[in-house]
């Protein structure tokens, strides 16, 4: 698999590190990792950093993940980029809201590296 550029959005720096580690454990080679601690930071980061994959929490201060997904469609660098939510919010309503807004995958915390592999590889066009 080609190396990819990933944007990881979570208000917890620890969780951003864990998500990055899980991507590597899933066999995904990372050329570059861009981090943001909320949706507004992520939108700003996207304007300067083209990426191939976005992993995003929902509950964050300033701008939550659902709003980020809605607004990301207006950013050129985000067009066509798969977004996978990684969140403690596990209700069907949240899943539907995320997918309706444009997310392509949904992972509930706590998660295993295997779950990351299972949900991320398909959106990158790879078999898990």
């Amino acid at each position: 698999m080609d190396k990819i550029r990933a944007l990881i959005v979570d208000d917890s720096s620890v969780m951003r590190k864990i998500v990055e580690r899980s991507l590597r454990q899933a066999g995904i080679e990372l050329e570059k990792v861009v981090e943001a601690s909320n949706g507004a930071e992520a939108l700003a980061a996207l304007r300067d950093n083209p990426v191939d994959l976005i992993l995003c929490d929902i509950n964050m201060p300033v701008m939550d993940g659902l709003e980020f997904v809605r607004q990301s469609s207006t950013v050129e660098n985000a067009k066509g980029v798969p977004i996978v939510m990684i969140t403690t919010e596990g209700s069907e309503s949240h899943v539907v809201q995320a997918l309706t807004a444009g997310a392509r995958g949904y992972i509930r915390k706590p998660f295993t590296p295997e779950q990351v592999k299972e949900h991320v590889l398909p959106v990158l066009g790879k078999k898990p």
Binding site: D11, S12, S13, V14, M15, K17, I18, R21, N59, M60, P61, T87, T88, E89, G90, S91, E92, S93, H94, R108, K109, P110, F111, T112
Partner: protein, 160 residues
Amino acid sequence: MSTDTSLATRSHEENWQPVLELAVEEVFEIMLGCRVKPVSAADNPPNRDFTAMVGLAGALGGIITVCCSAKTASCLAKAMLGAAAESEGEVADALGEICNMVSGNFKNKLSCADDRCMLSVPTVVSGGQYNVHSMASGDSMSTVVLFEDAPVTVTLQLNN
């Protein structure tokens, strides 16, 4: 069941204690690689060097706290990160995320909570001289697990 049944009544009728215990066990096993089981709270009193808090609002109102010693908080962060935390802030961040995942996992297991319950972002306090006074003055339940032989106390305090 009537929707205006109090949370305290529901927590007893639906027996939320094992739900809370399972939520804690799953987070520790999946994110920390550690199998834990509830232990006696009387034999393992809480250490409150660090307390992480997540508020619950909506159909399920209250607060969930996770507290432990500073040393245990560092060990938890190390287990999550796979390496020692770089700062006390990172230790607090890790404990806050554990509380966040326990809270989300707990509410996701309750049919009455689901999408009608919202979680706050975590808050973590540290230091030796503080008390946590929750305005959630209803029923409470706790579970204590041992991590590297030290207690980690998880408490759900429900709104009245």
